[in-house]
Amino acid sequence: MILRHSSLEGLLSTLSTGARVYVPAKADGVTKFVLYSSSVRPDFSITNTTMPPKDLLFPQTQHMYRYGTDAEGVPYVEPVHDADDVIVFGMRPCDVRSIECMDDVFLTKGFVDVSYQAKRERLLMVAMACTAPAPTCFCNSMGLCPTAAPLADILLRPAGATDASGDTAYLVEAQSEKGQAALAQWESYKATDTSDADFEPVSAAVSCSLKVSMVGVKDKLEAMFDHPIWEQLSKKCITCGTCTFVCPTCHCFDISQENRLSEGTRFRCWDSCMFTAYTEMAGGHNPRASKSARVRQRFMHKLCFFEQRYGKTLCVGCGRCVEKCPVALDITCLIDQIGAADVAY
């Protein structure tokens, strides 16, 4: 199916009658996935939104259940259900890949996370291939292709040059049964004066200029737990949580509660391995009290431990942390340093 850029607005407004549709846009100066309405101007030229779409499945604050004691003094616990049909329209391939990592965490290894699963089952991912990766993008090096998003339900690829009217065309393909079924709603917006064969979609030749080599990184790191690199690297880290909060794959959380008299709500919220209190135990002992231990944990988890556990790197090369770290502690520089480290593996 070919879809013209000029038809997008009509399509989005149709889709938003049956689901909550999120699109990349700038809101109050920050780019993120914003709930579509007629007053929202989607911006598909944004390569990576500052905030990743992970909050649609894993909100920064997720109410889990209410509890309290009823009039007879009997304690109760009531789940909070808030899953809705959601379409994320215009996800970049790296963000789609990040959902693959989140699925591993929340849906496998003996325990299914019920609230994640409820949201995940009602999510439709519409991906947009990248034609112009940002200078901080390095997804190729993480085994991704900027123009492919295998897990997405529907993939849009900008197709060749704009036509005579100056209207960009997208080649639309369903990649899952769910995507195929969803396309029925799109039919009335497809370009009828042309066919798929007339267009050449952006090819795999699109590539990030920032490149790192992951060869041997995981294996070397297995022998680098006590390497001086962590002490050196962590000196400039100010242990804020920026990198973890803008990361599409960071998924650590805390569980806390707010109470009103005898009733309360327990919620989970994003937490960060960069924060001191994250691992501090009752009684005061902290297994990761030092800054270097926390920096090591973050990078070991991303580049070594997660791969050992789930068979993939917990970094999709989106470059958000590279761009937003206030002290330019750059994961790609670390990967280079690991590559250069004289460590047998």
């Binding site: 109050d28 200078p135 806390s256």
Partner: protein, 305 residues
């Protein structure tokens, strides 16, 4: 600054750092080195004299370095590259009993304002800076900056003025003060709504040196962990009030903020009110604690008692 000035300052900095490390005067030099991207720099920690050539100085040294002295001082005396902002941060930490003057060796550097490596334009925090050059140092590398900041001196009177005027400094605050209450509320609600509570503002601040921040006092439970407008508002306002009269106006919080919150407008509102109510001194200009709220004189008025 011109390319040749930057190069000359970089050479002087490297030479001084090498000498200080080789002679054993300091254990580590905190400065900047080149990052991966064009014009980008990142904080550098040099303890080997042979590595001193990694140091750079120029228009893109965006990080304020003062706070790193706290983390490094355990290893010995720390040499820190200082401009106006960094040196005021050092003074602030000395006044707050976090640091002894003797624990640092200050390498003074002239500054004409730093630029965003991505856009090449002067950083917001440098546009309203009142002290370009180090207010305290052990050695001054290169001449003091004769003129004002490249950007701040854009108006006609800037030729003879090194400092931005209070009017320029408080432009944002004045604008907000003039707003109708509903509009002002909407402005801050929008800002606090996008706060992700990464705490980069707190962590980058040379005044935020509490061993345990109120945010982390889980037992007291001042700060809920939920991200919502009420909690975000509570965090941001408490942060400003707690810094209170100690803000040195380095602007590092606002630069570090990934969400672009107008943190300096909040900080400067405090600064402005303290000036008008108590004729407060600018913070961090000396090692003395001159903070209006952080000290008392027997002669203080007690009209409210």
């Amino acid at each position: 600054m011109s390319l040749s000035t930057a190069e000359a300052l970089t050479d002087a900095l490297r030479e001084e750092a090498r000498r200080l490390l080789a002679e054993g005067t300091v254990a580590v030099v905190v400065g900047w080195e080149a990052g991966r991207f064009p014009n980008q720099t990142t904080p550098a920690f040099i303890s080997d004299p042979e590595q001193a050539q990694r140091l750079v100085y120029g228009d893109y040294c965006v990080n304020t370095l003062a706070k790193y002295a706290l983390g490094e001082k355990a290893a010995g005396k720390v040499a820190v590259c200082v401009r106006g902002c960094d040196s005021r941060g050092i003074n602030r930490m000395i006044a707050d009993n976090q640091l002894l003057r003797d624990e640092v060796y200050l390498l003074g550097l002239p500054c004409s304002g730093m630029k965003d490596p991505a856009t090449g334009s002067l950083l917001m925090k440098c546009r309203t800076c009142t002290e370009h050059d180090a207010v305290t140092y052990d050695v001054l590398l290169g001449p003091a900056t004769a003129a004002g900041h490249d950007g701040a001196s854009a108006d006609s009177s800037a030729g003879d003025s090194e400092h931005v005027s209070d009017e320029q400094r408080f432009t944002a605050v004045l604008g907000i003060e003039e707003m109708a209450p509903e509009k002002r509320r909407a402005l801050f609600d929008a800002a606090f709504n996008k706060c992700i509570r990464c705490y980069a503002c707190r962590k980058s601040c040379p005044c935020c040196t509490c061993r345990e921040c109120f945010v982390d006092q889980l037992r007291a439970g001042w700060q809920g962990k939920q991200n919502n407008l009420a909690e975000n508002r509570f965090y941001n306002i408490t942060r400003v009030f707690h810094i209170g009269d100690r803000c040195i106006e380095c602007g590092e919080c606002e630069r570090a903020c990934p969400m672009g919150l107008p943190l300096m407008a909040l900080n400067r509102k405090m600064v402005k009110d303290l000036k008008s109510l108590f004729n407060a001194d600018d913070a961090g200009m000396t090692e003395e604690n001159s903070a209006a709220l952080g000290r008392y004189d027997l002669g203080d008025l007690e009209e409210f008692m």
